[in-house]
């Protein structure tokens, strides 16, 4: 394909509406033509910016509760009468919802949800503040370094309450527990080399997206590579706010 032909397909390509053959030909061309690759990248950024703009907005929880109540108004009485069936159905439904939701999320986002949820429910608390204690550093092996605990957002709205060592899918991570205003926000830092354990996130971050976003259960999740680490933020905050927070993350001891 020549440049003019490839550029005709830019939107169809970005919307994944091209056939396999045409997609392959476009990809081949982009690998060898820096100018077209730049234009496609600009168009992709435009789409992402537009997407963030149109998706931005708080959910009106009270409205949805009102609507849902009209759909299942007297559930409690029926659940008493059919409680064994209702419990079984709920379990199946809940499993289905969790599977449906999780299958749409990034693997790393799913993996860190439990960490953040435990923090929100005060099951997980900070182990230390300031320098990493020697006895904790000894547990890292070569899979984590004290530098992972040194990342902080320069955004003044973020306050750290302390940190702890945590394991996510067997991967050691630095868990920095903080707040943005009154909202708990967790910062999770792992070595970039550990991304092999989270192939979806790795692909996303290596595809040119500086920030990988996803839901993480009922929270929002955003991750980006900083130096030789992957820094993630998780919280019950709008996605755009988490992305802004993540952009300000720097290594404090650097």
């Amino acid at each position: 394909m020549k440049c003019a032909e490839v550029r005709k397909f830019v939107q169809l390509y970005l919307d994944s509406e091209l056939g396999t053959k045409e997609s392959f030909e476009v990809e081949q061309h982009l690998e060898s033509c820096a100018e077209c690759a730049g234009l496609f990248e600009a168009e992709k950024k435009f789409d992402e910016r537009l997407g963030r703009f149109v998706r931005h907005g708080e959910m009106t929880r009270s409205l949805w509760e009102k609507i849902e109540a009209q759909i299942a108004p007297s559930g409690s009485r029926r659940i008493k009468a059919f409680w064994p069936l209702a419990v079984a159905a709920s379990l199946v439904l809940a499993t289905g919802i969790v599977f449906f939701t999780k299958s749409r999320n990034l693997d790393l986002a799913n993996a860190v949800e439990e960490c953040h949820s435990a923090y929100v429910h005060q099951i997980t608390t900070p182990e230390f503040r300031g320098a990493v204690p020697e006895k904790i550093a000894q547990q890292f092996g070569d899979r984590l370094d004290t530098g992972a605990f040194a990342y902080r957002p320069s955004e003044p709205a973020f306050t750290s309450n302390g940190a702890r060592l945590c394991h996510v899918e067997g991967v050691p991570v630095a868990l920095i527990l903080g707040h943005c205003a009154e909202t708990p926000v967790s910062m999770i830092v792992l070595k970039k080399s550990e991304l092999d354990h989270f192939p979806q996130t790795k692909r996303k971050l290596e595809s040119g997206d500086p920030i990988a976003c996803s839901r993480s259960g009922r929270f929002q999740f955003a991750a980006r590579v900083v130096d030789d680490h992957v820094v993630c933020v998780v919280g019950d905050e709008p996605r755009a706010a988490l992305e802004d927070l993540l952009r300000t993350v720097r290594r404090a001891d650097g």
Partner: protein
């Protein structure tokens, strides 16, 4: 329908609905001509969908089905507000060739971070300036994440019209960003 069947239908319906509530709300907010209407549009559409849920088939996309019902509700409400849907502007399916000739060249290489608030203002104005059909197609794609074929079925318009509307909508939004960038240089 027995009480038990109705209850289990409600659970299944809510299970499918809850993951897309946020997208439906964002779509409704940006589609209604009068901001006060979005709650009515959502409530009417969801209840209408629930009443028709026994006609929903598992092999169809629930997301696309809900967007279709919500869009019909919004168009009806917007018509009451005195604005008429503009789908009578048919687009030739051959438009795929024309719409792809985008004018982006070097103008599209934008430093997004430098635009910030000016950009949001321009985007709001640009979105409001779109025709109802352009806006519906753009938002179904950007918020609903629907495929072109699904959008075509939702709106009952040819695939070429979906592409044409989407192309024009994106061009207008792109122009808005360029205007914001030029202003930020002044």
């Amino acid at each position: 329908m027995s009480n038990q069947e109705q209850h289990s239908g409600a659970g299944r319906f809510l299970g499918l609905l809850q993951p897309i509530e946020s997208d439906l709300e964002n779509y409704a907010r940006r589609m209604v001509f009068d901001r006060r209407d979005f709650e009515d549009a959502l409530q009417n559409a969801v209840l209408r969908a629930f009443r028709a849920f026994d006609r929903y088939h598992d092999d169809a996309s629930f997301r696309a089905w809900m967007f279709k019902i919500l869009t019909n509700e919004i168009f009806a409400i917007n018509r009451k507000r005195g604005r008429v849907a503009q789908f009578e502007v048919a687009v030739d399916p051959e438009e795929i060739e024309e719409f792809a000739d985008l004018e982006f060249a070097s103008e599209a290489l934008i430093s997004w971070e430098t635009l910030a608030d000016a950009l949001d203002e321009e985007l709001v104005a640009a979105l409001q300036s779109l025709s109802q059909s352009e806006r519906a197609v753009l938002l179904m794609r950007a918020i609903g994440d629907l495929r072109y074929r699904e959008i075509s079925e939702c709106l009952g318009i040819p695939l070429g019209s979906v592409m044409g509307n989407l192309s024009r909508a994106r061009q207008k939004m792109r122009d808005a960003i360029l205007r914001a960038r030029k202003r930020s240089w002044l």
